[in-house]
C-alpha cells in the first residue's frame, strides 16, 4: 500500500468503516510509515479538538433574549 492509497482510506479508518482485511492492510502500512502514522494521529486529534471545544459560545443572556423573542412570535402564531 502506498501513502496515497492510505490517505484515500484515512477517513474510513478514522470513522471505523473499513473491513477487517483493509484494516489489516492499513495497520501493516502504518507499521513502516511514520509519515502516515503522524498524519493519522494528528488528524484524529484535529477532529477531537474541534468536537470538544466550544468556539462559538452562546452566552446565557443572549440565549434567553433570543429564546424569548422566538417564543413570543410562536405564541402569536408567527
Amino acid at each position: 500500500m502506498t501513502c496515497s492509497e492510505f490517505i484515500a482510506l484515512l477517513d474510513d479508518l478514522i470513522d471505523d468503516s473499513v473491513s477487517p482485511e483493509i484494516r489489516a492492510d492499513l495497520q501493516n502500512h502504518l507499521q513502516g510509515c511514520e509519515h502516515c502514522e503522524v498524519t493519522l494521529n494528528t488528524t484524529r486529534k484535529t477532529i477531537e479538538i474541534y468536537r470538544s471545544h466550544e468556539i462559538y459560545d452562546l452566552p446565557s443572556n443572549l440565549r434567553e433574549r433570543l429564546h424569548a423573542a422566538i417564543m413570543a412570535r410562536c405564541k402569536k402564531g408567527c
Binding site: S4, D11, N41, T46, I49, L62
Partner: protein, 208 residues
C-alpha cells in the same frame, strides 16, 4: 440500558417525534423544549456559515420560526434535528447572499486544491498541544483556522464532525452526493490538520 442515543430501531420512536406532535397540536411549551434542546447547535452552525455574530442571531430566530411555521410539513421520516439543520443552513446561506449582494454563495462549487493529497508536513504534535494555550487563545486559533477553509469544506466538516450528522444526513442536508461529502470531509480534515500544525507542532525539548 437505554437506547435513546443509539439509532432508534425501525419501530422505536425518537423522543422528538412526540414533542413535534404536541407542538403541532398547539402546545407551545413542547416547541419551547425543542428550541432549548437545539438552539446552541443552530447558533453554532449559523456562526460557522455566516462568520458574523449578528447574522447568526438573526438566523437562529428565523430558523426556529420557519421550522415552527413549517411543522405541518415535517414528515417524520427524517430526524427533526436533521430537518432543522437543513433549515438553518438554508437561512444562513440566504443571509450571506443578502450581505454579499450580487455575489453567488454556493456550497456546491468544488474547490480545486491539492491539499487533500498526501501531506508534506511531517511534524508531529506536542502530547497535549491545547494545553500550551489558555481557553480564549485556543478558541481564537480554532476559529481562525476553520474560517480559512473554503466554505464548502467548512460546512461539511462542521455538520459531520462537530454536529455529529452521518455522511448520508450531511449529503441530504446540503443537497450533495455521498462521494462529494466524503471527498470534502477528507480534504477539510487534512487542511485543518495542516493548518493547526503551525500551532501544535512538537517543539524542541518536548518530551516524547
Amino acid at each position: 440500558m437505554s437506547t435513546i442515543q443509539t439509532i432508534a430501531g425501525e419501530n422505536e420512536q425518537h423522543p422528538d417525534v412526540a414533542l413535534v406532535e404536541r407542538a403541532r397540536a398547539g402546545d407551545v411549551s413542547a416547541y419551547d423544549t425543542l428550541v432549548r434542546k437545539y438552539d446552541r447547535q443552530v447558533f453554532r452552525i449559523a456562526q460557522h456559515i455566516t462568520q458574523n455574530r449578528e447574522d447568526a442571531e438573526d438566523v437562529m430566530q428565523d430558523a426556529f420560526l420557519k421550522a415552527y411555521e413549517k411543522l405541518e410539513q415535517f414528515q417524520g421520516n427524517s430526524k427533526f434535528y436533521t430537518w432543522l439543520v437543513r433549515i438553518a443552513v438554508n437561512e444562513s446561506l440566504m443571509r450571506l447572499r443578502k450581505r454579499r449582494t450580487g455575489k453567488m454563495v454556493s456550497i456546491d462549487e468544488d474547490v480545486e486544491t491539492d491539499e487533500g493529497s498526501v501531506p508534506r508536513d511531517l511534524a508531529d504534535w506536542s502530547p497535549d498541544p491545547e494545553q500550551n494555550y489558555n481557553q480564549s487563545e485556543l478558541a481564537e486559533i480554532l476559529r481562525k483556522t476553520i474560517q480559512g477553509l473554503p466554505q464548502g469544506f467548512r460546512i461539511v466538516f462542521v455538520l459531520r464532525d462537530v454536529e455529529g450528522l452521518s455522511t448520508e444526513e450531511t449529503a441530504e442536508t446540503l443537497g450533495l452526493s455521498i462521494p462529494a461529502v466524503k471527498s470534502r470531509l477528507l480534504r477539510a480534515r487534512l487542511q485543518l490538520r495542516e493548518r493547526l500544525s503551525r500551532y501544535f507542532r512538537r517543539k524542541k525539548g518536548d518530551e516524547k
